[in-house]
Symmetry: C2
Subunit: 258 residues, 2 copies
């Protein structure tokens, strides 16, 4: 983890045009940027499940005050990427099968709504955007690498939800996606063969493009539920196998000593 860039660009009047075009380019407050840095550490797995987040240590690492770190941790807590135990500790949440189930059922519901709304409101412009996103997924899948294919998959789903024009839904979905990413990366072996990805998504995309709201909603739900059940059963197996091991009596996460 490297330092946060403290420079906010020139103080004088230059760059006024660019600031108009993209007003947030350097105006993000420090705690937001710290939150970004910490989020990246957590999603990448460099801060693994159970990792203890000590304010003073983080502040020292990032060359930032403790209060700023605290604000960032608070934000990440609201996004489900950090657990807080008041007066005691911050830590990275464990990856339990129950959580995977929650994430996928919730995702199915939210994406069902998003797909329905997207189908209702489809226009030539939004349809083109959706098609482009779908094409990118097919391309990535053709290459055969898992990482980019997963990202293109996530991007397509996010595009669909974005087309709904539903602000709260979009925001909530993005939070969910971040949590999901952590699970997917932790067990990336369960990625199906990339060749099938296109066919798995085509019906949903077509339904939205055709404006068939009910059909799109049903397809989005079933697609997510089947994907979710796969991940859930896999994680459940891992959990049960771990529960049999003598070192973790009550389903607690396993601590690695040495």
């Amino acid at each position: 983890m490297r330092d946060i860039d403290r420079n906010r660009g020139p103080r004088n009047g230059a760059m006024s045009m660019q600031r108009l075009l993209n007003p947030r380019v350097d105006r993000r407050s420090l705690d937001r940027r710290v939150a970004d840095a910490l989020r990246e550490e957590i999603l990448s797995g460099r801060f693994p499940p159970g990792f203890r987040l000590v304010e003073t240590w983080l502040a020292q690492q990032l060359q930032v005050s403790r209060g700023t770190v605290r604000a960032a941790l608070s934000e990440l807590t609201h996004q489900g990427l950090v657990d807080q135990v008041a007066y005691t500790k911050w830590s990275v949440p464990d990856l339990r099968a129950q959580d995977a189930w929650e994430l996928y059922t919730l995702r199915a519901s939210l994406e069902g709504l998003g797909s329905s709304l997207a189908a209702e409101a489809v226009t030539p412009a939004s349809g083109a955007e959706l098609s482009a996103s779908f094409d990118r997924l097919v391309e990535s899948a053709a290459v055969g690498e898992v990482g980019p294919a997963v990202e293109a998959d996530l991007a397509l789903h996010k595009t669909i939800v974005a087309l709904s024009g539903h602000g709260r839904l979009i925001k909530q979905y993005e939070i969910l996606e971040q949590q999901l990413r952590r699970y997917m990366r932790s067990s990336n072996a369960l990625m199906h063969d990339t060749g099938e990805i296109g066919n798995q998504h085509r019906p949903l995309v077509d339904a939205i493009l055709a404006g068939q709201a009910a059909e799109a909603e049903a397809l989005a739900k079933s697609h997510n539920m089947t994907e979710g059940r796969k991940l859930y059963t896999k994680l459940l197996q891992i959990e049960q196998r771990a529960a049999l091991a003598p070192a973790s009596p009550q389903g607690k996460p396993i601590e690695l000593r040495s």
Copy 2:
């Protein structure tokens, strides 16, 4: 708005039993309690839409430091009850028709999922809890007062979602409910006659008790959507009427002078 109670109970060993039974009774941090106080002000309408939340003023009112107020405002922002404009201001969000639409469509989706899960997992115990909540609604409706009836209505819906056993869904639903409460209170005139409330909810409750997941989901959705459409169209009328007034050119909220 009165001061936050700074006393946290006796420091000595007494009350250990009570703390065991309810360990959080006095351990809530100050910023959480400030958030509660501010939330109450906002939901009650004493801090109306557009109200400017100045940190120093709030800190003075609550006899608390600015940092604590800041943390509370941040929490409320994550819950959709406060808007933040970085480096500039905090304020209470406006009540737009678009937001009412978002809230109700999202609520229908979430409660649909909750109802489905509740029906799947129904037990004699949870069924009794649901029935009791429903009975309380019918009782409140019989009295005929709008306020308690609305609260009992909200409580029943929350009970259903709570029976799903879906942690993330429950938390998300509670946030949504708070936002909804603000809209419902702002136009409480649209409360239907209380006599019909029981009949409007009975099919959903029965479906859950009978374990009919698909039926329960469909009923929850349609119920919320019809309720939502009522509120949406009403708010839209108010908004359009206001837009015709000369003082608010671009759909901006109306400022009441004097």
